[in-house]
């Protein structure tokens, strides 16, 4: 006798259980602890002496000049990275969005920066940007474009630009992949009928491609924005936050507060403020972009 089985909610919960348990234990539990720590004056050296200090840490943050400057650089870094990454990703996706021989090879090479460890990427770029032996400076000097080597990582302004360039180099492949995928899903008939109606390439791009890849663009720019905002490795490995904390972003500032000044409580409070800030910002961004559509 065949018994008809029906899906039940219990089975669904069973399936998600292992993943949920791991994430709860290793992400959510520490997160809750992190939030609790941010209301104390926990010091790494004397963990047992921690005392509850209420909102003191959070109030201190807004009076902290170093925090404000770190926030400024973080916003500059995230916004300019997102703009550059989206534009480069879009341009290359448009270029690759056709059939031709060797497409796989070109795409593979373009994806390489994405899978290279940050440690290696930073070494590579430190070597390229070196003011004495770096390839960029030597080439520019040889061509007579500059007289003095450019101090890519030693002056505050150039260091900021350099970190954005390296981050863009490292992250554009993700955007390229996602946008290419979205473009492949656009029905070919749309372009054909538009061409028959006399739309030129730019009009087809503006009226078909852009609207069709909009949902994907929103999600992926939010992701890149979040990742750039929280970025630690790329900037830290390149500049350690220097020169004179010009490229110290929020994550680096938190890291230094926690592990060098041993102010665990204060560092956790910064992280908490950032988390709230980011949730508000990205909800707002998604709300504004999704509303325009209607």
């Amino acid at each position: 006798m065949k018994k008809k089985k029906r899906k039940t909610a219990a089975e669904g919960y069973l399936f998600v259980m292992p993943a949920t348990l791991i994430v709860l234990l290793v992400t959510v539990y520490p997160l809750v602890r992190g939030i609790l720590v941010s209301f104390t004056n926990t010091n790494f050296l004397y963990p047992q002496k921690a005392k509850f200090v209420g909102l003191k840490n959070i109030i201190d943050i807004f009076k902290d000049k170093e925090f404000i400057s770190a926030l400024g650089f973080t916003i500059f870094f995230a916004v300019s990275s997102v703009v550059l990454i989206y534009l480069i990703g879009l341009a290359l996706a448009l270029l690759l969005n056709r059939e031709f021989k060797g497409k796989g090879l070109f795409r593979a090479i373009m994806l390489l920066p994405w899978v290279i460890p940050n440690v290696v990427a930073s070494n590579m770029w430190l070597w390229m940007l070196n003011d004495q032996t770096g390839m960029i400076n030597l080439t520019l000097l040889k061509l007579g474009i500059i007289k003095e080597p450019i101090l890519f990582l030693a002056t505050p302004f150039m260091a900021k630009i350099s970190t954005v360039i390296v981050n863009t180099w490292k992250s554009f492949p993700f955007m390229l992949l996602v946008l290419m995928a979205a473009m492949q899903n656009i029905p070919k008939e749309l372009y054909e009928s538009a061409s028959m109606d006399g739309a030129n390439a730019f009009q087809r791009f503006k009226n078909i491609t852009l609207p069709m890849i909009k949902p994907v663009s929103i999600t992926s720019t939010v992701l890149i924005m979040i990742w750039s905002f929280n970025n630690f490795e790329t900037v830290f490995l390149l500049t350690k936050g220097g020169p004179a904390s010009a490229t110290s972003n929020i994550s680096i500032y938190m890291y230094n507060s926690a592990f060098f000044r041993n102010q665990m409580g204060y560092a956790s409070a910064i992280a908490l403020v950032m988390l709230v800030f980011m949730i508000v910002l990205s909800s707002l961004y998604q709300y504004v972009l999704n509303r325009k559509e209607d």
């Binding site: 089985k5 899906k7 039940t8 909610a9 089975e11 919960y13 399936f15 998600v16 292992p18 993943a19 791991i22 994430v23 290793v26 992400t27 997160l31 992190g34 720590v37 290359l92 060797g102 796989g104 795409r107 593979a108 373009m110 994806l111 390489l112 920066p113 994405w114 899978v115 290279i116 460890p117 440690v119 290696v120 990427a121 070494n123 590579m124 770029w125 070597w127 390229m128 032996t133 390839m135 030597l138 080439t139 180099w169 992949l177 996602v178 290419m180 995928a181 899903n185 949902p215 994907v216 992701l223 979040i226 929280n230 490995l237 938190m254 926690a258 665990m264 992280a271 908490l272 949730i279």
Partner: protein, 278 residues
């Protein structure tokens, strides 16, 4: 007309080649430098060496614990890939198939974005405190656990998109014929989404292979250091020996390069399914 088309094709490939060269310039420069002798590396600024030497590679393999770091990274990355593959598949399947039964699953995408927003540094502080307490710091298992937890959200998001793309009718028919849900998952859904599963496992592997920040604060002892932390310590050790540093870096990116060249079809397929649903 025909000549115009040929010129267009040549122009297209020329443009692509220039772009690709430009993108991979740091990489080419690194590989070239790794084969230069210590004397040449500071004086010869051509990309490729005049005298080709394996000196730097020998130096890295014989005079540093490089192979220990590689072994640690292999253990951590394989463990991460396997556990993430299994748990994310199960969870992603449920999220794709049980949205009608469990309301909460419909909000998974929102939840996923919020999980992505956690600054890893916020987790770093309590994780260090907790791991010291339970004895997981300075162990390969501990750092793997962190990578597993960090990769599950993104991989679940990707693989659930993949399962959504597979028609549900076959599984329903199998269930009417007496298969349990788990059997139809193992025998129908999993084989059909192997490319997606491959892509999330590669993603998790590369993520674990490359990660530096967490490993740097959790695994401090030499015998459990992973490759990125070990590489970073070379900077101090080698001082200005750029050749050896470049050689170690070249060796460190080999697995990722192999994956991207041979498996890119799967990576692209997996990301496509996850990302396009937005």
């Amino acid at each position: 007309m025909k000549i115009k088309r040929i010129f267009k094709t040549i122009g297209f490939y020329l443009l692509l080649t220039i772009i690709v060269l430009f993108i991979s310039l740091p990489l080419i420069n690194m590989v070239g430098s790794s084969f230069k002798s210590t004397r040449e590396i500071l004086n010869n600024n051509n990309i490729f060496p005049e005298v080709f030497t394996w000196e730097n590679y020998r130096n890295v393999l014989n005079r540093t614990p490089f192979l220990t770091y590689v072994r640690n990274s292999v253990v951590v990355a394989v463990l991460t890939a396997v556990v993430v593959g299994i748990t994310s598949c199960l969870a992603g399947y449920a999220i794709a198939r049980y949205q009608r039964h469990i309301r909460a699953f419909r909000y998974f995408s929102k939840l996923f974005l919020i999980l992505q927003m956690f600054p890893a540094v916020l987790l770093m502080i309590p994780l260090v405190l907790v791991f010291i307490k339970v004895g997981l710091s300075d162990s390969l298992l501990g750092i793997s656990l962190i990578y597993i937890a960090f990769n599950i959200p993104f991989c679940t998001w990707m693989i659930s998109g993949f399962f959504e793309g597979i028609p549900v009718e076959m599984e329903e028919a199998a269930q009417i014929d007496g298969c349990t849900v788990f059997q139809s998952f193992c025998k129908l859904a999993v084989p059909l989404s192997l490319p997606g599963i491959a892509s999330i496992m590669i993603y998790a592997f590369i993520g674990a292979w490359n990660e530096y920040m967490m490993a740097n604060v959790i695994n401090k002892s030499a015998e459990v250091k992973t490759l990125p932390v070990g590489l970073q310590s070379f900077i101090l050790q080698f001082d200005t020996d750029w050749g050896s540093l470049m050689a170690a870096s070249v060796l460190a990116i080999i697995p990722a390069m192999l994956f991207i060249i041979f498996m890119q079809k799967y990576i692209v397929a997996g990301l496509t399914a996850g990302a396009v649903k937005g």
